[in-house]
Every structure is written in structure tokens, then in C-alpha cells.
Symmetry: C2
């Protein structure tokens, strides 16, 4: 393994040398005036090819290293990232001076800026692009809403308590830790036992409370902190509970997701959209989950930002007019079949995955494609992103299909976006609980003939037979399903009478032929009334940001090669600060130019910082590379300045009047760095202090 | 009154005619080619003057109408605004299908867009412009933090309960309603009684629980719903309480403000800022207040968005380098003296208010000026905005000065932004509770000599005298304040011994002269350590938005004059949708052009809607005027289109290629409508369907 790594390193170094040489040649070409345009173009093409090869080699090296590496090197990488993130205040454990609270984190200044950039891009990419109806609902939610959604009854984890200290643990975590520990550390393990532990880990999510409890007993699993006996597992509801108003009579919860706020508004939103389907509503907001014992840092927290879309669609037509725009995308998918067959994720073309039926429908496929674009544009590495289909046992019974965008980081593959076709479940649940029909209408261009069941109880005969109970019997007859009614019709025709259970009376009555007429009649209908299906892409913003931190982080040696410097390679879109301004040396003149430039950057809406400390320019670059700032303006004259790009360290020279607009161009996505590199003269560093 | 209104109306109509004539003349000038530039400029100047006069006359009319109007016409105006807001889904009572929860509202699509525009502008105007450190902390907060801040003990309202039904009421509301009812409706009221009720209303906020209870008894105030007896008033804590984690042992609350998240992070943020003062941190987020009985619609709610700034500053230097940028602003202020003298708010120049000492310091003054600019740029009417200084009894004992930005709406003057100099209170409170010093350092350029108290207990003598209690006595001696120590020094010199209370022992001991040496010594110090002052501008975003709705709303007759049409005159900055696209008539060609334009608007990041319904163009304009959409593009050819401005209804003709950039220019604030009006040919409506 090591030798293949060495040879990769060797070829990488060679490629780098070739890239450098070619870049030099290109610079020389640029320097000569009157050079033929096509010569330059050809050189650029060669350079691009070399860069791509170089990139590919670097990735192969990276994956060789990571496949070669065991858990401990992943831990070391994570530690390096997390140290940098905490030291530069990307995030901070909340209430640190009071020794914090597990599972609660603050975003510090650069983290907060990254988050607001991610959310602004989400709005642009989804809400604006698709004309979605964005809403903003409260976090405090009355119990009835979450009773209807099922959260009051089912949003639970199984918990065990240390019988002496009362400390709480997640039952499945303890069982998983035990099995994994055995598999990793017990060298005497028999193949049968190993297979058993592996099986337990794989079915962990499906175990009932009783099965989990039995396993804990069988393996004699104790409290990890004290070794004490544990209680039997019991469900703990993960919602933060509170009480609304002063009476104490109206229980409420902090919402566990933002989706319910959209569902309960369906009727108004459908009206707002001109009573037309399909349409999508969206919401960005805080959600809460009172975890039993939060682990995995920023990935499992008690309060987090969700961005959710509910796309309402006719269940009989889930095509999407813009599917063609994403159909050619090709990326890693992990369908059910591959998972069940023990295979890996594979690259598929989205259009084919839908046409073959791997993905249930076009609308679901369209959102999968849009999510892929969203994540990769943010800077998520496409080779560490896959779309995994839920297995039948993972999916709710009502769901038509469900895919998770999973991102690989040092903790493994992490679910960051769920994209589910939830059919009509949510709207039906709220219709039933509230009594308000949440339905859509399709007007027919001309009336259609349909067969309909007609039940006509004879009130006179029923009144004679049941007196005061007549109304209850009438209602029960009218409430029969089609199946029940047709069975009754047959029984009455065959036997003349039938026993009939009336729930509201709590007993059976005898119904005779003359008491009810049941028939199938052909009727003309002018419209179809139906409950729309909902397709729900749901984004865990904090998880996406954490994975982005890991994917963006790298280290490189300082100029003097005596230390490794940290860099976040955020795209300008995401970078917390777009640009820094440094006077090259302490000088009042340069300071004034720097302030002038800062003013023009503010006016252009570009976030930036000035650093007028006397520190060496190299140190100042290193400091801002670590914040992921993509561009640095160095003031080394009173007429023009240099702009340096973070990853390539290339520099161009731009006049002071143009500098704000040049930076704006490359930060708001109108141009790439490569574009401006050709337009402005390259600046070659002449003094050692520069890097 | 009516006749002065009539004459205003008359002069207004004349002004309007003059404006129209002048505009016509200017158009004619424009139409002639080769016209002298300065003639046009002069005409424009005249036109501007006329417009300003017209505007002033319109305002005088408005204020005449509003001062003339009683409560019922305010109610009618509010009802018209609220009906429009609810019908167009600017907001929706939350969980409406479950009959809602008092004090909880959703923002529907246009409301949500307005909110996100207001927040984006807030970030631009404050965070970016001032390089503030933005943070993002959780809503769930452990009790200790809110114990330190005082919220657990003092964030209460006084409540009374209906003794039979248990319904809860705010005690001060009942008393206020009673007094106001008497003042308004009781025609037999003696002048003495009237004066008494007025006095009660004015001191309402200062009444203790006992005083409030006594007044309720004295006036025999009963439950407004049942007429039953009421309980005595008692404090009800307004925080939503919950429990963090599964144990039930860690109580928590939903934060009542975002500020505490910043204070507890002071140490890290100061470090992030290079250990330099001043700097500001900012936070936007949800805050919660479990109101006893919410009233006043969107103004008093149980969950709301706050945007808060904590500007940390050296208490010995509250100057602000950018104060000069706002010093010339002139607007309505309502200083303490004017309020106590029963006068009204008056127009003052900000610079003078600070130099005269009306406003405590430059930094506070700077933020007052920036808040004024923020609110008026959003579209708040400057004549219905005042800055009111807190009276001494309204202010916390530690506050140096405090001003509220109050906006007048149909509910009266509403506090929307508080701008307080809270001195060192918050940082000190958290330092004490957490034991972590939250302080700043000023390094002296050269050491300074200071007089310092030195207390040196003689451990030997104390040990002989107090044996095992020696340590407690030593600690108590060292903990003496300067005053206590100097008193002891004098007593020891005079009498040779002194009684000394040692709290940790729970008794007094006798200290003799040989047991302690107390002296004032001159010492060299290299730095000053101090707790920074904090200046806190705190924005109630929902309240600002509601007032903006009222200030932006007006009605005008339809073309046929048979109905009044609603308009929101939002500036483009705030407008929920920037632009609509209408094909003039049903036509496949026009529909395609419209779609093409929509695509270019999306690419330019401009929110818009297409309306291809067959409705008359006038109706379509009316529909979007009601949403406050500032510009409407009408497709009436395949080469060029018209753009219509909402309030003036003026139209220009623009080629299809240019339309997105023209709309971008006027919506992102690079140009005004007046600017583009001169650049493009004016379009005059030729057919009745147009308006």
C-alpha cells in the first residue's frame, strides 16, 4: 500500500512541475505583446488539461491515504479541523463560561457568516428559482398539531437508566458500542459470535423495546460510567415540552421540524397559488430535539436550523416540466437493490434512474438533481456525496419512495438532506384531526360519468323499527364503506335481513330489506376532489455546514517549510469574508488607500476586513487563509494594488478604481478567477516577505 | 376644522395641477431633440420643488385628517390594513385550522419576503457597514444564565385570576381599561375623579403588586368576562419553561432576548477582535415571551424576531469616530425634560443633542442616528417617528441613558427599537455568577504610578490567636473594601484593637494592631483592567414590519371610480416581489416573451411573478399594487415592453434585452425611478384596458 502511495506522490510531484512549467510558459506568452490569440488559447487548453490531471492525481492520492488510514488518522484529521474551527470561532460550545450544555453550540462570527451565505444561496437556488411560497411559523406549537402529526406518540428514542445514579443512556447506543467494541478489540471472538454482533448492529434500528432489553440482558451490558445495573428500555419523547399561556392548561412543544407549519397552512397557500397544483412552500427555521445524550459534535445537536420544502402535487401526475434540465446529471446513487446485495454506490445518470423506475417519479428525481447541484455548488466534494435510497424497513408505511443525500466525513456517511415522497399522509392526518378538508380540486373541461355508491335509508321504516335510536342507525348505514354496503346489499337480496353493528348504540340491530336501498348509480361529475401528495426535501443546515468545513479543509507547508498552515478552500459564495485589505508596509499613505478601498467594498456590499497590524504579509495571508477568505488585496502603491487568490496564491495587479468591481465580479459568481487572471496583468512576488 | 381641511384640499388640487402641467412641459422639452441641457435641468429643479411642496401639502392634509379623526376612524383604517394583510397572506394566525393560539402568527409568502428583506438590509446597514461580529446562539437556555441576567427573578407581569373560572388577566390591563373607560364614557365624572384616573394611568408601570391590588379593590374591578371576584395580583414569569435532557434535573427556558448569548461570549469575541475595544457583536434570532393575555395583534406576540447589537466600549471614552457622519441629521426627539414639562417631541439636530448633553454620549448618539436612517430607508414616515428618552423611573438603576425609537400607528406610539447605554451591568453579572472575568485591558505606553491599598495580615499572630480559624480571618481581612480597611487602620491606630465581623465564622473576632498592616502604597501599573460598558440597540423586527405596513398603506379610486383600490407603497428594498410580468393579451408569442423575461429576472436575482391569466390588465395591476410590487412589466410586443411604476403609474418603454438590467438598477438602489424615467422613452397609455 505504501509503495502505491509513494508512486502516486511521485507522479503528483511530476504533474505539479509540469503545471508550473506550463504556467511559466503561458506567463511568458502573455508578456510578449502582439502574440497570436490562438497560441494563447492552445496554451490555456494544455494548462487546463494538466490542471485536471493534477487534480485527479491529487484526489487519487487523497483516497489512497484515506482508504489506507484507520480510525485514528480520521480522528487526527477531525481534530485538526475542529481545533481550527474552535480557535477561529467558527463555532463555540454554548454558555461556555457556565461549562456549557451538551448538544448546544453557537456559531461565532465566521461560522455565522457561512451559515447566512448558505441560507441566502438556498433561497436563491430553491425559493426564487422555483417561485416557492416561503412561510415563517413559530417554534412554539400546541400539542394538538403534533398529536395529529404523530410526534407526541412516536417521536421517541429508547432510554435506559443507571439504577443507582439515574444517569440516562440511549439503549441502542450502548448495544452498538458493546458490539463494535467486541468486534474491534476481542481477538478471541469466534466467527459465529462475530457474525452475530455484526447482525445486531445492522438490525439495531428495527429492534423493539423488548428485543433491545433482552439483548442488553443477554450481553449483561451495564452503565458505562459506573458499571451499575440498567433499567429496562422505555421510550423517551424527544420534544422539549412547555406550557402556553399562564393557565398551565395548554401544553405545547418546541417544534421538532418546520414542515407542520406548512401543512396546517395548505388551504390558504393553495388559494394563494390560484387554486392550482403543483406548487411548493418552503420554510427556514429552528427545530428542536431533546437528545438523550448528544454525541458527534455539530452533527447531533439539540437545536438546529432546518430548511424544508413541501412540494404539493397531483398523485396521478408526478411529472416535472423542468426535469429535462437535470436529467443528464451523473452522480453516485445507492439504490435499494445495491444495498441489499451488499454492493457499493454507483454512478448513474439521473434521467435513466427515473426512466428505469429506480427513482419513483420525475418530481422526486428533479429535487434529487437540484439537491446535488446545491451541495456541489456550495463546495461539497462530489466524490464524497451519494444519494442512498431508504430500505423498505426504514421507510414509513405511507411513503412512496425516499432518498437521503449522504455526505462522507470523518464520522462516516452522514444523512444531510432527506428527499421523500410522503404521499398524502400529512394532509390527511391534519384533515382528520382538525375537521378542515385539506384537498385540491381538478375541474373537468367537460363533466365525466362515474359509478357511485348510493345508500338511501328509509327513515320511515327505521323510525317504526328503532324509535329513538333511528338517527344513530341512519348515520351508521350512511357511513358504510363501499365494500360493506355491497355485502349488505347481497345479504339482503339473499336472506331478506342482516345483523348490523351500530357502534354508537354499542350493539347489533337487524336490518330488513325495506329499511334501506343500496345501489351503484352512474353520475356526472364536474370535478375531481383529492388530497395532494407531498414531496419533501428537508435540509439539515448545520450538518451540511459541518461536512463543508471538513471537505474544504487542507494544510500546506509555510514558505519556510517549518510549519503546516491551515486553509479552508470555501468557494466565494460561501466564504465568511470575501476579501481582506492589507497595506504592505506601515505607512500613512497606504493606510489611507486601504481605507478608501474598504469604503468602496462596503458600498459594493462585499464583506471584508482590514488588517493594518505590522505583522509580515505572509503571516497575514496565513491568518486569513485559515478563515477561508478567497481574495486578499495588498496595497503596495497609491495607484494600483494586487489581488491574491487563496488556493493558487496567484496575484494580479488592478488599479484602485477597479478593485472593488473586480472583487465583486469574482465573489458574486459573474466571473471566475481564471477569467480575471487573463484580463489583468499577473503580479510576480519579488520580495520574501510576500508569502 | 372642516373648512381648513377643505382649503388644504383645494390647494393640494392646485399644486397637483401645477405639477401635472410642469411634467407635461418637461415631457415636451424631452421630446424636442437638441434641447439645451441646462433648460432641462432647470425644469427638473422646478418640478422637484413642486413635488416637494405637493408632498408637504399632502402630509398636512393627512395629519389634519388624522388629528381630526377620533378612535373609530383609526380603527377603520387599521381594519382596512389588517383585512388586506390577512387576505393577501402577509400574515396568518398560526395553527388556524385548529382555531389558533393567541399571540402566535405566521408570516405568509409576501410577509416572509418583506421580513427577509428587512433582515438583509439590517445586516447590510449595521453588521457589514460597522464590521460587527455576528453570532448565532440557541434559543434553549439553561437556568443559570437567566438567573445571572435577572430574568428568572424579575421578568414577570402581575396577574390576577378569576376566582371561579381560573381565567388569567394582566392586573395593569384591567386597571387601565377601567380608568380609560371611565374617562371616555362616564359623562358624570367630577374633575377630581377624572384627574385621579388620569394619574393612575400615568403611574401604572410603577405600581407595586400591593398598590395594584389595592386599586383593583378600591374600584371593585371584576373579571371582564364573568363579573366574578378576582384574586390578589401575583407575579407570573413570562419565560417559556422547559427541561434540558432526559433527567428532568436541568431546567431551561426559551430565551426572552438574544443579548445574553453575546454577553456570555464576550471573552472569546474580545480575543477575536484582537483584544481591542470598541467593537460590536450582533445577533438576529427568535425570542419568546409567554404573555398572560396577548392583545394588539402583531404588536404583542409570544414569539418574535429580535435583532440586537451589543457595542462594547471603554466607559472612559464613549466618543465615536463616525459620529460626524450622522451629526447633521435632524429629526423628532422627545427628551426627558419635554416629557416632564408636558410638552411634545421637537425637531433637534443630533450633533447638538449630544453636545448639549441631552443624549449622554457620542456612541449612543451615533446609533440613534443610524437607527433613524435604517427606519426611514425602510419606508417609515419620518413625521411619525420619534426618539423618546426614558424617564428616570423607567430606566434600570445601572443604565446611563436610554432612548426608544417610537413609531406612531393606529395603536398609538409604539416602541420598536430600544437604544440603551447599559453601562457594565451585564458583563459584571455574568462575571460574578460564572467566576470568569469578563474584562478588557488597556496597556499603558509607559507604566503609571497609582495609589493602591495594601492589606498584609500577619499569619503568625493570627495563627496564635485563632488557631484553626486563622484561614477564614485572613481571607476576611483581605476581602475588605478600601473604605472598611481605612476605617480599621484608623481604629487600630486610635484604640489598638477593633471588633471585626467574619461572615464565614458567623461571629465577630477582636483584631489587634500586630495582626495586620494596612497602608496606601504607590505602585507602578502597566495596564488598566476594566469592565467595558455596553451600548445596546435592540430591534423588534415584527413591530417595525407592522408599522411599516401601516405607513405604506393607502387607497385610491379605480379608473372607473366605482371602488377604492389598496396599495402598499413599499420601497423596492422592502417589496416582497420586485416585479411582475404580464402579457397584455392572451397570445402564445407574448407568453414566450414573458417567460424569457422571467428567466432573465431569475438570473439577475430579482423576485417576480408571471400572471398569464386572461384578466384585464387593470385588474392585474390592482392585484399586485395590493402586494406592494413596485414595477410591472407588460409585454405588448416581441421587441420591447413597458415598465410601470406602482405609485405614479408612469410607464417607460424598454427593449427586451435591457429590461432585466433596468429593473435591477431601480430595485437594488443604484438608480431611482426618476433616473430611469429620463433615460427611456415614456409610454402613454392608449387603451382603456390599461388601467
Amino acid at each position: 500500500m505504501a509503495s502505491s502511495e509513494d508512486s502516486l506522490r511521485q507522479s503528483l510531484a511530476e504533474k505539479q512541475a509540469a503545471v508550473d512549467a506550463q504556467a511559466e510558459a503561458v506567463r511568458a506568452l502573455k508578456a510578449r505583446s502582439g502574440i497570436a490569440k490562438d497560441e494563447i488559447d492552445a496554451a490555456v487548453e494544455v494548462l487546463k488539461d494538466l490542471k485536471m490531471e493534477h487534480g485527479a492525481a491529487a484526489k487519487r492520492l487523497q483516497s489512497a491515504v484515506s482508504s489506507n488510514s484507520d480510525g485514528s488518522s480520521k480522528e487526527a484529521f477531525r481534530q485538526a479541523v475542529v481545533n481550527t474551527l474552535e480557535r477561529r470561532l467558527f463555532y463555540i460550545p454554548s454558555f461556555k463560561i457556565y461549562r456549557g450544555v451538551a448538544g448546544l453550540y453557537d456559531y461565532g462570527p465566521p461560522g455565522c457568516a457561512v451559515k447566512s451565505n448558505v441560507l441566502a444561496f438556498w433561497r436563491q437556488h430553491f425559493v426564487l428559482e422555483e417561485n416557492m411560497l416561503e412561510v415563517d411559523c413559530p417554534c412554539v406549537t400546541p400539542e394538538i398539531v403534533l398529536k395529529a402529526s404523530g410526534h407526541v406518540d412516536k417521536f421517541t428514542d429508547l432510554m435506559v437508566k443507571d439504577e443507582k445514579t439515574g444517569t440516562c443512556y440511549r439503549a441502542d447506543h450502548l448495544l452498538k458500542d458493546y458490539c463494535k467494541g467486541k468486534l474491534e478489540k476481542d481477538l478471541t471472538l469466534s466467527p459465529e459470535k462475530a457474525a452475530e454482533f455484526k447482525h445486531v448492529v445492522s438490525v439495531l434500528d428495527d429492534l423493539s423495546s423488548e428485543e433491545l432489553g433482552a439483548k442488553l440482558k443477554e450481553y449483561d451490558i451495564r452503565s458505562p460510567d459506573t458499571g451499575n445495573q440498567l433499567s429496562d428500555p422505555y421510550p423517551f419523547n424527544l420534544m422539549f415540552q412547555t406550557s402556553i399561556g399562564p393557565s398551565g392548561l395548554l401544553p405545547g412543544y418546541m417544534r421538532p421540524e418546520t414542515a407542520q407549519g406548512i401543512f396546517v397552512n395548505f388551504k390558504d397557500l393553495y388559494y394563494y397559488n390560484g387554486n392550482k397544483l403543483p406548487f411548493a412552500a418552503a420554510q427556514i427555521g429552528q427545530a428542536f430535539r431533546n437528545e438523550i445524550s448528544p454525541r458527534q459534535g455539530l452533527l447531533r445537536v439539540r437545536e438546529f436550523t432546518l430548511a424544508e420544502i413541501e412540494h404539493f402535487v397531483d398523485p396521478e401526475d408526478k411529472s416535472h416540466p423542468k426535469f429535462v434540465d437535470v436529467a443528464k446529471l451523473e452522480f453516485l446513487m445507492f439504490p435499494r437493490e445495491e444495498q441489499l446485495a451488499g454492493k457499493s454506490a454507483k454512478t448513474m445518470i439521473l434521467g435513466q434512474a427515473v426512466s428505469k423506475g429506480t427513482i419513483n417519479n420525475e418530481t422526486l428525481g428533479y429535487f434529487i438533481g437540484r439537491v446535488y447541484l446545491f451541495l456541489t455548488l456550495l463546495g461539497i466534494d462530489k466524490d464524497r456525496l451519494r444519494f442512498r435510497q431508504h430500505l423498505p424497513n426504514e421507510m414509513a408505511h405511507y411513503a412512496a419512495d425516499c432518498w437521503d443525500a449522504e455526505i462522507e466525513c470523518s464520522y462516516g456517511w452522514i444523512e444531510c438532506v432527506g428527499i421523500a415522497d410522503r404521499s398524502a399522509y400529512d394532509l390527511r392526518a391534519h384533515s382528520e384531526k382538525s375537521g378542515v378538508p385539506l384537498v385540491a380540486h381538478e375541474k373537468f373541461s367537460e363533466p365525466r360519468e362515474v359509478e357511485k355508491l348510493v345508500i338511501t335509508p328509509s327513515k320511515k321504516e327505521l323510525g317504526l323499527a328503532f324509535k329513538g335510536n333511528q338517527r344513530m342507525v341512519v348515520e351508521a348505514l350512511e357511513a358504510m364503506s363501499e365494500k360493506e354496503a355491497l355485502e349488505m346489499k347481497k345479504a339482503l337480496e339473499d336472506k331478506g335481513e342482516v345483523d348490523f353493528q351500530v357502534c354508537t348504540l354499542g350493539k347489533s340491530v337487524v336490518i330488513k330489506k325495506n329499511m334501506v336501498s343500496i345501489s351503484m348509480e352512474r353520475k356526472k361529475e364536474h370535478q375531481r376532489v383529492f388530497t395532494p401528495s407531498v414531496i419533501e426535501p428537508s435540509f439539515g443546515i448545520g450538518r451540511i455546514i459541518y461536512c463543508l468545513f471538513e471537505h474544504s479543509f487542507y494544510t500546506r507547508p509555510s514558505k519556510s517549510e517549518d510549519e503546516q498552515l491551515n486553509v479552508f478552500r470555501f468557494p466565494p459564495l460561501v466564504a465568511p469574508i470575501k476579501c481582506t485589505v492589507f497595506p504592505l508596509i506601515k505607512s500613512q499613505q497606504f493606510d489611507e488607500v486601504a481605507k478608501l478601498i474598504a469604503k468602496s467594498l462596503t458600498a459594493a456590499g462585499i464583506s471584508h476586513i482590514i488588517d493594518v497590524t505590522g505583522t509580515s504579509i505572509g503571516k497575514r495571508y496565513a491568518r486569513t487563509d485559515e478563515l477561508g477568505v478567497p481574495f486578499a488585496i495588498t496595497v503596495d502603491s497609491t495607484t494600483s494594488v494586487t489581488i491574491r487568490e487563496r488556493d493558487s496564491k496567484e496575484q494580479i495587479r488592478v488599479s484602485i478604481d477597479e478593485v472593488a468591481s473586480a472583487v465583486k465580479e469574482v465573489t458574486d459568481g459573474q466571473s471566475t478567477w481564471a477569467d480575471v487572471l487573463w484580463r489583468y496583468p499577473t503580479h510576480v512576488t519579488t520580495h520574501a516577505a510576500d508569502e
